[in-house]
Every structure is written in C-alpha cells, then in structure tokens.
Amino acid sequence: MSSAPAPLSTPDATPASPETAVAERSTVSDSLVAEPPSADSRYLRLQGLSKRFGTTSVFEGIEADIARGEFVTLLGPSGCGKSTLLRAIAGLTAVDAGHVEVDGETITHLPPQKRGIGMVFQHYALFPNMTVFDNVAFGLRMHKVPSAERQQRVDETLSLVELETHAHKHPHQLSGGQRQRVALARSLVLEPRILLMDEPLSALDARIRQHLREQLRNIQQQLGLTTLFVTHDQEEALMMSDRIFLMGKGNILQKGDGEALYTRPESQEVAGFMGAYNCLDAQQASSLLGYEADAAQVVFRPEALYLKSTTDEINDPTMTSNLGPGCGGVIVQRRLLGNVIRYRVECQGFALHVDALNRGARYLLPEGANVMVHADLEEARIL
C-alpha cells in the first residue's frame, strides 16, 4: 500500500519513483513517445467490473482499456450506469467484482484519497466555506505540500483556467462556468493520473457550455491528461472525444472514435442512440432502396438517402456514383434543423427520414411533393 505511487511528486517527498516521474506534467509528452505503446495503451484498465444495488445490476462485466493521454467519453442515456461506473473508478462506490488498474497498478481496493484520481462533479462540489484559492490549495494541503510551492502551483493552475483574478472570491460569488473551472483547477493542481468528469457541463447554459468544451479539450491536450468524461449529450461526445464508449443498460455497447460510432453502429441500440437512423428489414431494404442483403436489419443514416424530385435533378449536386435504384414516395413532413433539412418521405407505406443540406430556398422540396428516394448503398449498415 505504502508503495502506491502518489499523485504528487514534491521536492521534499521520498525520491520519485519512475512511475511518479511519469505522472509529472512536464514529462508527460516525452513519456508518450518514450514508453512502449502497449503499456501506454492500457494506462487505465477496467477488468470485469460489476456492480449491483440489491437485486438490480447497475453495470456488469465492464472491460475497457484507455490509453495514456486519451480523452474517452462515456456516452449513454441517463440511468445506464455511466456515472456509477465513474464513481467506481474513483473509489467512491465499491464494486462487487472486477479490477481497476492504473499504469499497471491495481487500485480496486484503495480508498479514493490514495488513488491519484481527480474528479469534477456536475454540481461543482466546491467547498463553500473556502475561497477559490483555498479550494484549489486544499488538495495540496492534504498532501503536505509546503506553502511556497503551494502558492505557486495554485497560481499556475488558476491562470491555466483563466481565473487568476478571482482567487480571493468565494464560490457563491462566481458564475456557474467559473465555478466549474475552479472545480477543474482543484483537480488539475494535483496532477492526477486520471481525470474523471461527471457531466461537468450539463448544469451550464448553452453558450458557456460551448466555450468550456473547447477550453477543457485544450487543457486536456496541453497536459496530455488521461480523461474519462461522462455525458448524455451526443454532440458533446462527438466534439470532444478521442474515443467514445457508448453505454446502455449497464454495458458498453460499442467503443470507437466518433466517426466509427456515428457511421458504423454495430447494433440497433447504438444506431438508435446516435441518430435518426432508418431501420429496415432485409425485404424492405431490397424493395425500397434496392439493397440486397442476407441480414435481419439494414440501417441507413438519413443523410445517406437522397431525394430526386420527379421533374428535377437530384437535390444534392455533390452526389456521386453508387446510388440505388430508388423508389417513389411523397414528402409528408419537412422540418428545418438549421443547416440541415429533414424530410419524412412515405414510400409504399413506410416512412423514411432523409436529411439534405439546406442550400437555399430554391432547393427546397415542398410537403406533398412526389419524389424518388435513392440510397447511397455504400453507407448501408448491416446489423
């Protein structure tokens, strides 16, 4: 236990072990290159993690490897167990089975304060009795960092999150976005091996959320910080992550980068969560879109379908080769989603969603128009 690498390496601490040196901010990027990729790609390992509350299982047999410096998002609907999984990694919730490994060290049985893991909570969890400075300094005080160094490191971290001028305010004097940045600074100042973030942006309003996403990602990349981020917001996940783990009903349904998850869902649940996929059975796929497959389900993203008005050219001039034969239908609904227009087209009694870029009024097709629907057959996904 005592040999557990501390999250901090301080000058007056015992001589730094190689592990602790690696955790230091300045050496992170070097070590990314220096260390063999196999160890780095398994910086955080989750092995068979299971948790139940009473008779209901929260998550079951979770397996995952996360690389050093990677930004991974746990994406899923509320109640899918993602927050509990995060708390289990932090040591705030005990697991029933499985192991958590960081940098080759099993930490499953360590209490939270010995894990060297930082966490940012949805509602900030700032200490209301302390100033911003004291909040950020708290962890350093707990780790017995001498006060001169403490001062310096808090100042550095506060300027990293652009709050150096607010150091002597109390949390209640700050806006939501500022509070969350204090919470971030409070975790960062300890140079945690892993940073966990539990829906950190969902209590904020849209504009600030947008700004913080970018700031967060920049800081994470700058520090090469291994980060596990929880959200239920698909757009947020796609924007920020190196990889996304899509969770549902206590399992990780699919892992991959945003591109893979979005364009190549491996199951109907993933397809259902990631977008307004058109789900067809093999017979419908064949008769409607001319796609022949020996599969139970074929799914098309709405932007993989194209409309051609009966009198006109295809509505998307960028369209290329591999279009299917198409079928006739009627536009029953047209909704403007911003830069995209979503049509609902009824073809032989089946409703298809078709997304088209909103190029301008003259490209718009009216409701009730007769159209042909073609599919880009390359983009079909068989489930």
């Binding site: 040591g91 005990a94 049985h109 360590l110 209490p111 939270p112």
Partner: protein, 280 residues
C-alpha cells in the same frame, strides 16, 4: 473493500448516542411497560382492573380525552385559517407574525399558566374588563372552560408552525393552471388545495391531540392536583404527598401511551381512506 475500512470507527461514533438514548428514553418506557403488570411479587392485570373499576380514574381518562379533542379540533381550525391568512399576507408582516408564532410556541408550562392568571384569573385584567361589560360573569380560569381556553391557546401556535410548510408547498402554478382549466376558488380548494393539505392537517391534528393528552406542566401550575387528568394522576402516584404506587402509575402510563398509539392508528386509517376518496 474500501467501505469496511471506515465502518468500525464510524460505528463507534454512534454508540454513545444510542447508549444514552436507550438508557434515558427507551429503558424508562420498557420499565413502565413491565412494571404495569407487576402485582406484589407476581404478575397480573390487577392494576388495570383497579383503574377500570374506579370512577375516579375513569373520570380522569374521560376528561383527558375531552379536553384533548376539543382543544385540538378548535386549535386546528384556527391554525388552518391562520395559515391561510399568513400565506396571503405580505412578506414583512408574514415574517413578523411567523416569528411571533415561534415565540409563543415556546411559551408554555409554568410561565404560560402564570400569564393566564394575570390575564384571566379572578382579578385578571381581561376578566375585569369583560365583567364590566356584563360578560364572563361566572367564568373561572381554574375550571374546565378555563383549561379549554389555555389549551387552545397553546395548540394554535403549534398547529400553525406544523401546517405552514404544507401551505408553503401549495404551488402558485397549481392555482393558476386550475383557474386556466376553468376552476373557481371553491373548486381549487375542493379538488386541489384541501386534498393536498389533508395529510398534513391529519398529521398535525394527531400531534395536537398527543400534545394535549400529554400536557402536565400548565395544568399542574394552574390548579395543582385539583383537575382530574391522567397525567396529573400519574405524577401524583409517583411524586405526590400521599403514599406512592409506582406500579399503578405504570399501568396508568401504559394506558396513556396506548391512547396515543390509538390516536395515531386512527389517523393513519383516516388518511388511507381519504386517499381512496380523492382517487375518484
């Protein structure tokens, strides 16, 4: 397990409290329950039979029930009206009056009895004033009606304080959406306000009843042992001037606790039935 590391010291922290609570709250009750059945060197129901057979103790029970029920019912009606009035009043007056209610709820027992003697005693200011205009000619504070007044007086602030949160939970939006749906004031209270308040009113009524049944200090300070109530009889049997009968006191105490338990059960039954009614 991470959790187990903290369990043992944590449990140690709560042990002292439970020891004190058990010794000074639970043990006395258990002791009373056991002692009530102790007859001489053996066990039996002799004390209960004695109480039932005695017109004196039957009167004590009857009067306890009577004063508790009357003062609680009158008290809860006034409390409900007062709460309604408070929620309608402007902020500053409301805060002031709530603070005042808080103060009066702490004004009980001996000081309260004394204040009533000053006000409504034989030479009390209000007694004299009312007699001058021809009212209250044969009123006595030390009689049943006098006790009713003083009981009601201390029930009202308690009722108000217990009911206020429930009134606070009545959302303005409910009233607004009810009125948008075509409900008048009467309909609002009939279908939304009172059904929502009803559990709190029933619960508060129970507490008022229990409070009245258990009252001792105010009566004792006012009339000593001269008004026949269960609490007065019990105290007199363990700390009176005559010979002491702790076992009989225990039996009477057990009856008193049984009475309180019955009130609670009736309240819960009532509450359950009310939910069936509002379901329709």
């Amino acid at each position: 397990m991470t959790a187990r590391r903290f369990i043992s010291p944590a449990i140690l922290c709560v042990v002292p409290f439970f020891v004190v609570f058990a010794a000074f709250q639970l043990a006395p009750l258990v002791f009373v329950a056991i002692n009530a059945f102790r007859v001489g060197d053996g066990w039996g129901l002799a004390h209960f039979q004695e109480i039932i057979a005695s017109a004196f103790y039957r009167q004590a029970m009857w009067r306890t029930l009577e004063i508790a029920i009357v003062s609680s019912l009158v008290g809860i009606v006034i409390a409900v009206l007062t709460c309604y009035s408070l929620t309608r009043l402007g902020g500053r007056w409301r805060r002031l009056l709530i603070a005042f209610t808080n103060m009066t709820s702490n004004f009980a027992g001996v000081p309260l009895a004394f204040a009533f003697i000053i006000l409504l005693g034989a030479n009390g200011a209000l007694t004299l004033a009312l007699q001058r205009i021809g009212l209250f000619e044969d009123f006595s504070l030390y009689s049943r009606s006098g006790l009713m007044i003083i009981y009601t007086w201390f029930q009202v602030p308690l009722g108000v304080l217990l009911l206020l949160p429930a009134f606070g939970a009545l959302r303005a939006e409910w009233r607004e959406s009810a009125s948008l749906l075509g409900a008048g004031r009467h309909d609002y209270w009939r279908y939304i306000g009172l059904p929502v308040l009803w559990p709190s009113i029933a619960g508060t009524l129970t507490i008022l009843l229990a409070n009245a049944v258990g009252t001792y200090a105010t009566v004792f300070a006012l009339v000593g042992n001269n008004y026949n109530l269960m609490t007065i009889r019990i105290a007199n049997l363990v700390a009176g001037d005559l010979f002491l009968q702790p076992e009989l006191a225990s039996a009477l105490s057990l009856l008193l606790v049984g009475l309180l338990a019955t009130i609670t059960l009736v309240q819960q039954r009532l509450l359950r039935r009310s939910h069936h009614v509002t379901d329709h």
